[in-house]
Structure formats: structure tokens, C-alpha cells
């Protein structure tokens, strides 16, 4: 599905501030795989996501998605295949537009004629159905401006927006970090359901070691732009939060 090959990215190259954010990183992600990504601050996790979505171009290496080489593809062209969720719930939605309009924007990626109605009748009821599954009462507020929603509600909406057009890859960057525990739990449940149901390849960045082990099928730890731990299956089952945290602290000593 996703193949990142020897990706290298240096920021502020040839200056005193030079910073190697991705250090020849290689990663393979299969369809249906749900990877949790951990690592200390500045390890390069968000940078990896940015490289995949096209926020910048790699210095070296290549990225392939679903057999297509996207190394040089423009960001908005990649977005057709990638759903991306930010940590900040404000970032993923347009506050001055209604719930329905926000969803229509996300959904209409697939269709073509730009002067068709923004929100068609069928789409409206389809969105309503999908929102109803979240049991947050959002389906009765389709015409409300998104700016009026709580952070958790906005994040639930963003989650639906980033998956409604059925992307092949879902990237989640600490998407529950800004939420209260109850809302975070709810969003994680919805995330899990969507990833399973749509058989997406998914990657989730988290600083919560428990969350990293509880969710998904594989856990990867980054440090200095390189993968230093990659566990799945039985090895992952045996992994405990305590030992994962130990990994972090060992790195600190080095």
C-alpha cells in the first residue's frame, strides 16, 4: 500500500541550525494495517506525515502509494488518496460553514462538474446517516455553523470528513490530544470502527504509550528521524507500557 523508501529530509541545510528530520527512513504499510507511531518530541513523526501528504518535497528517497509514485506529486493531488487529521480540531474544519457544507466539501472529491449544487439532497441524507452513527446528536444540526461545535464534536466531524471520500491511507497526528478523556475515548472508538470497516491503511501518532499498544496492529518508534522499534503480532502482544516507556528513557540517556 504505502512504501516509503530511504526518505531523507534536512531542514536549514548548511546552516548552524541544520536539522536532519528524516534520516533515510524506510517504511512499508499494508492495506488494513493500523500502525501507531510514537517517539519523543522532535523525533520526526509529523515530518514523516508531512512528507507523505506533500507538505514539502524529500531531499532523497521516494514514496509510493497504492502502486503510484507520489514523490513529486502536488499536495492537493495526493489528498484524493490520503485522509489527514490534525491535533487541533480547529484545523480540520471551516468554522463559518455549516456541518453539511463541510462534509460536502470533503465528499465531493470524487465527482467532477464544479458548478453542480454544493450540497445535493442525496448527499445531505447520506451525511445525516453517517453522523447519526456517532450518537452525538450532530445529525440534527446539519445547518449549524461548525464554529459552534465543541472540540470533540469538531474532531468527530473532521474524522468523518477525512474518511468519507474513502481514501486509501488515513493519517492521524495526535488527533485526540486536545480532547477531554471522555471525548478522546469516543473519538478513538469511532476511529477504530472506521479503520476496520473501510479496511484503510492507517497511521496514528500518539504520545500515550497505552493508546499506542491498545489500538492498531503494529507499533513503530521513531527517534532522530529513524525507526528504532517496529513491533507487531506476538511481540507486540507481549509488550507492556512500562517497557515501552523504558525505551524512551534509554534514549534520553544516550
Amino acid at each position: 500500500m504505502l512504501v516509503v523508501e530511504r526518505a531523507r529530509k534536512t531542514f536549514f541545510k548548511d546552516t548552524p541550525n541544520e536539522r536532519v528530520a528524516l534520516d533515510g527512513l524506510s517504511l512499508r504499510l499494508e492495506e488494513g494495517e493500523f500502525l501507531t507511531l510514537i517517539g519523543s518530541n522532535g523525533a520526526g513523526k509529523s515530518t514523516l506525515f508531512n512528507a507523505i501528504t506533500g507538505g514539502f518535497l524529500l531531499d532523497e528517497g521516494s514514496i509510493t502509494l497504492g502502486g503510484l509514485d507520489i514523490t513529486w506529486l502536488l499536495p492537493h493531488k495526493r489528498a484524493l488518496m490520503i485522509g489527514y487529521l490534525f491535533q487541533n480540531p480547529m484545523k480540520g474544519t471551516a468554522p463559518d460553514m455549516s456541518i453539511e457544507e463541510n462534509l460536502a466539501l470533503a465528499y465531493s472529491r470524487r465527482k467532477s462538474w464544479p458548478l453542480r449544487r454544493g450540497v445535493s439532497k442525496e448527499d445531505g441524507s447520506f451525511f445525516r446517516d453517517r453522523l447519526a452513527r456517532f450518537e452525538m446528536g450532530l445529525e440534527d444540526r446539519m445547518k449549524d455553523k461548525v464554529g459552534l461545535l465543541s472540540g470533540g464534536q469538531r474532531q468527530a466531524l473532521s474524522l468523518l470528513m477525512s474518511t468519507i471520500a474513502r481514501p486509501r491511507l488515513l493519517l492521524l497526528d495526535e488527533h485526540t490530544a486536545a480532547l477531554d478523556p471522555a471525548a478522546a475515548k469516543k473519538i478513538m472508538r469511532i476511529t477504530n470502527d472506521i479503520v476496520r470497516e473501510q479496511r484503510l491503511a492507517a497511521m496514528m501518532i500518539t504520545h500515550n504509550a497505552q493508546q499506542a499498544l491498545d489500538f492498531g496492529t503494529r507499533t513503530v518508534m521513531l527517534e532522530g528521524g529513524r525507526i528504532i522499534l517496529d513491533i507487531s503480532g506476538e511481540e507486540r502482544e507481549r509488550m507492556t507500557v512500562a517497557r515501552l516507556v523504558e525505551h524512551y528513557s534509554e534514549l534520553r540517556v544516550l
Binding site: 492537493h76 471551516a94 472529491r109 464544479p114 449544487r117 454544493g118
Partner: protein, 303 residues
Amino acid sequence: MVLFAGSLHLGLIYGLMALGIYVTFRILNTPDLTTDGSFTLGLAASASLTVLGMPGLGIVCGILFGALAGGVTGFLQTKMDIHPILSGILTMSALYTVNLYVLGDRSNLSLLGSPHLFSAAVASLPGVPRDVTRFFVALLLCLVCFAFLAWFFGTHLGLCIRATGDNDDMVRASSIDVDAMRIIATALSNACVGFSGAVAAQYQGYADISSGVGMMVVGLASVIIGEVFFGRRSVTIGFVSAICGSVVYRLIIALALKSNFFPAYALKLVSALIVITALSLPALKGRLRLASARREARRHARG
């Protein structure tokens, strides 16, 4: 009565421009200074073609040239990465030359004796008072433009443009081409402004190279005055509000001039003051609230 009719006409005609300003200022969230140039461009194209006996084509060209000018500004803003305000200033400045050229190397042109939209309408409705006919022509043009914009911003493309102005981050992470949206919106805005200039030329019966100076501020003032009455709600209401704001603006100006409240040459200053007041209101309110909260806290500390 004449005063009232005149303000109503001008309010509607300049309301077309206010619609354009609303598109960039409120929907795209990027003030656009091309306006001053594209207004004159529409005016010049319309006047020159009217003198040649083609007033209808004049209006069409006013719209198209305006769109083109806006497209250039949009292109500079996005593809060339020039600051939005500077992009507008550059286009506006370059347009000065273009406008002189379009006017035939003259700084003004009179349409005296050349039939145009308003004179044709008045001539074809002999029983109806002149001002009433002119009012309906202006109203009709305004309604057409309003209906088009209201429809357009309900389409998928319209939603994409609104989202670009509302949350750039989100749009960048989506499959929408942000640059294209900005270029289209800026072109659309200046099409309205060019339209306004084209109609204004035929209404006044002359074109002057400096007619566009300060037009953007006038448009902003109209949008802001409209919002005093309508608040900031949906885009469609926003368009209605911009037109109404333009009419009210003209009425205020006409009344002030009539009562010798200020001389005609103070117009631009007054427009700028209206905009400054409206834009600084939130900051002033915040500061006042902070001051009163402090006073309250101090009282509690003492008591």
C-alpha cells in the same frame, strides 16, 4: 426627492462594486486593492465602446476586463507569491496606463449624444418618469448580479472558495487547488467591480481616469454599513447586506452634502473614517472591557 432618487441609483450601481468587495474582503478574507484600477477599467471600456455606438458590448467588456485584472492580481498573489496587498497595488498601478490607453490617451471622455443603456431605457418607456426607469434599470442589473453570486456560492466551486477563505489549512490538506480558488475569486470580485464601473460610466454620461481613486474604501464602507443592519450571517444575506449598505452609504453622503455638513472634497476622508471606526471597534471594545475588569478587580482587592 431628486436627492433620494439619485442616491438610490448610485447606491445600486456602486452596490455592484460592494458585491465584489464582499467577495474578496469577507469571503476570501483578503482585501484586494485592484478595485481602484478595475473600476476605472470597466468605466473606460464602457465609455469608449459607448462612444463607438456599442454600449451593450461596453458593459460586457467592463465585466470581462475587470475579471482579467482580478485574475492577474490572483496570479501574482498565488503563483508568484507576492503579498496580496502588494499584488493589488501593482495591478492597480499598471492599470493606470491601461486605462489611459482604453480611454484613447485621454483623461476623460464625455458620452454626450451617444445612446446608452439608461437613455435607451428611458426612450423606450416614454410615459414613465426618467428617474423611475433609471431606478429599475439599476435594480435589474443589481438583481442579476446578486442572483448569479448567490447561486455561484452555493455550487461546489463556491463552497471550495468559501472554505479557502475560511480555513486555509484545511483546504491545503484537501484535494482543492487553493491557488486556483484564490485566482477565480479575485477575478470574480473584479468582474463585479468592472461591471459597476461600466454601468456607472453610462449612468453619469462621462468617464474620468481618476474615478476609481478610493473606490475600494467606498466598497468596504458599504459592506461594513450593511453589516450594521444585517449582522454577519450567511453569504446570501451578506450580498443583500452589501447592496443595502451601498445605498445607505450614498444616502448618508447625499444628506451630509446637502446640509453642508462637510464639503464634497471631504468624501474620501469620511469614507476612510467610517471604515477605520468599524474595523477598530472590536479592539476598542476589548480594551474597554479589560479596563473595566481591572477596575472591578481592584475594587474587590481593596474591599
